[in-house]
């Protein structure tokens, strides 16, 4: 029995060491490899969750690439930003989604919930250090363990395949074209303005990783803009606008916040209260491209410039404003 336990222990121990070694080698190879190049003319990148993912149609915007992806919390967005910025010196500006959803505890589930870890961890595990793993392990060690096999499978597939881009292999994000419109049906039973049902709950983890993104941009001279893409006036996050403004005033006053939330759109331009369909995305993307062509990131007061351009646009789409007023009444 003793010999059995010793032999089994040795074999299991060696197997574990060999597996850890293999995982480590694949992670290091992927981390240090030259797999993160994006188009050389890309000056602007967009990161965030499904709001910018649905709102920004890159094909309509020059020199911009979006890596926004549904449900992406700042935790994973940080690793994307890190690899993109470190490996692409041509990037001048990063437009980062900033909404109540981004900073609230809702995103904690997207960080370490079982489904999130299963779908996200293997895409970024190569770039995570011990502290990053501690954040996940503290909250869901089983999910972290289970994801190692997915990560190893994905990484081996990449290393043994002939895809030169890790970004493409794991798909870091991009424009998601939505064709439907549920706004009218939602308005039938959700026609009141959003009301706060419980106090605002901010996520320490999300805010910590937002700080990391800020520091990263600063270290690489990349201009960081916090951005809120268009959302319908009935979106729940408006109930927590005071929490968002408080954060902007006290924690992120040195950053420029581009608030496109009230960009003039019809109900038919939204897929639902938080997301644009392709009609709304085309309108907004066209406007955003105009702003970029006008060189708005270089304006002395970017936020004011954007605000004034939004007002001009609103006047131009006055009939759309009427549409919203009518619905409210």
């Amino acid at each position: 029995m003793k010999q059995f336990l010793i032999n089994t222990g040795i074999v299991a121990g060696l197997a574990l060491l060999a597996t850890i070694g293999l995982i480590t080698v694949t992670l290091v190879t992927i981390d240090k490899g030259d797999y993160y190049a994006i188009a050389p003319d890309t000056k602007y990148i967009v990161l965030g969750h499904s709001h910018p993912e649905c709102a920004i149609n890159e094909s309509m915007i020059n020199n911009l690439q979006s890596f926004a992806r549904s449900g992406a919390p700042y935790f994973y967005t940080y690793f994307k930003a890190k690899k993109l910025i470190e490996n692409n010196e041509q990037i001048e500006s990063l437009f980062l989604s900033f909404t109540y959803t981004d900073v609230s505890r809702i995103m904690d589930k997207k960080t370490w919930g079982n489904e999130s870890i299963e779908t996200r961890l293997h895409r970024y595990s190569a770039f995570m250090d011990w502290d990053d793993y501690k954040v996940l392990t503290k909250n869901n060690w089983q999910g972290v363990l289970k994801s190692q096999s997915l990560a190893l499978q994905s990484n081996l597939k990449f290393l043994l395949g002939n895809n030169p881009s890790y970004i493409d292999h794991v798909y870091w994000g991009g424009y998601l074209r939505m064709t439907d419109c549920k706004t009218d049906s939602l308005l039938v039973y959700m026609n009141d303005l959003p009301v706060k049902k419980k106090p605002a709950e901010l996520s320490e983890t999300s805010l910590a990783y937002l700080d990391k993104i800020i520091a990263l941009c600063k270290a690489h001279n990349v201009e960081l803009f916090l951005m809120r893409t268009p959302i319908h006036e009935k979106h729940y996050s408006y109930a927590y606008e005071d929490a968002v403004q408080e954060l902007l005033r006290h924690e992120y006053s040195k950053l420029t916040f581009l608030d496109f939330s009230k960009f003039p759109l019809k109900n038919a331009d939204y897929r639902d209260f938080g997301h644009l369909n392709y009609k709304g995305a085309n309108k907004f993307s066209s406007f955003f491209n105009e702003l970029l062509q006008e060189g708005f990131p270089d304006q002395p007061d970017v936020a004011d410039y954007v605000k004034s351009r939004m007002q001009e646009t609103e006047k131009a789409y006055a009939s759309f404003v009427w549409d919203r007023e009518d619905r409210r009444n």
Binding site: M1, F4, L14, A15, T19, E118, L145, K146, S149, Q153
Partner: protein, 478 residues
């Protein structure tokens, strides 16, 4: 808890160490540990259904004690029927209540009478089809005098609940397993190593082969209308490999785990895909269930004695009941009937015992005639398994109709080459190991230790790489 889960990976060593180091001095205490561990194992899924196992244990133990005392034939028969009704009653209610209700309503509707009896949404307790049959084997064998009824309630409870085979078999006979709980077990390291090897192989079959094939089969079956004939064939073949690797993999893990504790369970699969006819297939597939039906249903009905009419009746009863055992759906009954139709010509022409040995025994390659026989047997089992997998009879027929079109010779739309390579490699290992109890039992025995360990590590690493895409064991739904 599932065999391929972290929970089980922690549970097994703890129970193993307690079993051999702490509780090994006293047999009753050791058996009690088995009972406790088994209740924890089962309760991990759903503790509410533990009561059913307890009830089944108490009833059958009591019936056994009653049969020991009662000598009058009529009363003995009464006790036996009490056990049969209680066990099959539980099984019938939990498994078939909704099926019978839905068909009852449908029959009334057919005649123009709409009734609304209200469904109970009965949940099927995991493993009920297996442990009820196992305990029935005890009462039936005691009644027939094949087994002395036990006085040891703990040993009997351990026999009923033995966690390696509790939820998906093999369905053990009381004559074989119960006495093992009455004898002291000694740790034999070769047996333990063999158990670990079989567990490794079972995990490989389940995680790498079954779950990988499941992804393909589910994709194709769930969208069968969108695929051409050749892809539908791929789907049917994928499901056949899935169900084999899933179920036989579970059995391997169960048998291997039992070996770690010094128990011998019966073999459940004997390389059925190398069968040369359907009779041989049924001697090699889910052996514990088919022999259970043979001994407790087929033979009492007269078996293959008597006239042609009787033989046909008995064969149909066995296969229909076997189909029905698998699930409360007409598709399973149809699957059983189809297998009966496959089997009958061989039985009626006395050719059902033609291939009793191992194909190409002692040789590396089979004869061409054997290859043709194996392929044709495989093809008809794949065809039958379409009914096993389809949601409804209509779905099955639509699937089959889709398979027979001109696109049968086109390139399949879904054919992951990596999975094809894995299945091919797997079948090669199965072929090379077909004369053993499981494929890698004696594989590499003559190799040096480092080479052999590297081979096992390769299997383990492959399991680890694939374990992220978990699918539930198919036979948990039975």
């Amino acid at each position: 808890m599932s065999f391929n889960s972290l929970d089980f990976a922690l549970f097994l060593p703890i129970v193993f160490l307690l079993y051999w180091f702490v509780m090994n001095r006293n047999l009753r205490v050791q058996n009690l540990l088995i009972v406790a561990a088994s209740y924890v194992f089962y309760g991990w899924w759903d503790w509410t259904f533990l009561s059913l196992i307890v009830v089944s244990t108490i009833i059958d133990f009591s019936v056994g004690r009653g049969l020991a005392i009662q000598k009058e034939p009529l009363k003995r028969k009464g006790l036996l029927w009490l056990s049969i009704i209680a066990n099959l009653g539980m099984l019938g209610f939990f498994k078939y209540y909704n099926f019978f209700l839905d068909n009852f309503v449908a029959a009334f509707s057919f005649f123009g009478n709409e009734i609304n009896p209200g469904s109970l949404n009965v949940i099927l307790p995991v493993g009920i089809s297996f442990y009820t049959f196992q305990t029935l084997s005890y009462t039936i064998d005691v009644y027939k005098g094949k087994l002395e009824p036990t006085k040891d309630f703990i040993a009997f409870s351990a026999f009923v609940t033995f966690f390696p085979q509790l939820v998906a078999g093999p369905i053990e006979r009381a004559t074989k397993l119960l006495p093992q709980f009455g004898q002291q077990r000694f740790f034999i390291k070769e047996k333990a190593y063999d158990g670990l090897r079989q567990i490794l192989w079972g995990l490989f079959k389940k995680v790498v082969i079954a779950d990988g094939c499941a992804e393909i089969a589910n994709l194709i079956f769930d969208n069968s209308g969108a695929y051409g004939a050749s892809t539908l064939v791929v789907g049917a073949v994928a499901f056949t490999f899935q169900i084999y690797a899933d179920f036989s993999g579970y059995s391997d893990i169960a048998i291997g785990t039992a070996r770690l504790f010094g128990f011998d369970l019966c073999r459940n699969f004997a390389f059925p895909f190398f069968s040369r006819d359907i009779a041989e297939f049924w001697r090699r597939w889910h052996i514990s269930l088919s022999t259970w039906f043979r001994d407790y249903l087929y033979i009492p009905l007269g078996g293959s004695q008597g006239g042609t009419g009787l033989k046909i009746r008995n064969v149909f009863i066995i296969f229909l009941v076997s189909g029905f055992w698998h699930g409360a759906n007409w598709t399973f009954i149809f699957w059983g009937a189809l297998n009966a139709l496959y089997f009958l010509p061989l039985l009626l022409s006395n050719r059902n015992r033609t291939h009793m040995g191992i194909v190409a025994e002692g040789k590396l390659l089979p004869q061409l005639s054997d290859i043709a026989k194996m392929i044709s047997t495989f093809a008809i089992t794949v065809f039958a398994f379409i009914f096993f997998r389809a949601e409804t009879i209509t779905h099955a027929f639509e699937y089959i109709e889709g398979m027979f079109s001109t696109s049968l010779f086109s390139v399949p739309q879904e054919l992951p080459l990596s999975q094809v390579a894995l299945v091919a490699g797997f079948m090669m290992l199965e072929w090379l190991g077909r004369e053993s109890e499981y494929a890698i039992e004696n594989f590499g025995i003559s190799w040096s230790r480092p080479v052999r360990r590297t081979f096992y590590y390769g299997i383990g690493l492959t399991i680890f790489v694939f374990i992220g895409h978990e699918q539930e064991y198919i036979y948990f739904q039975f």
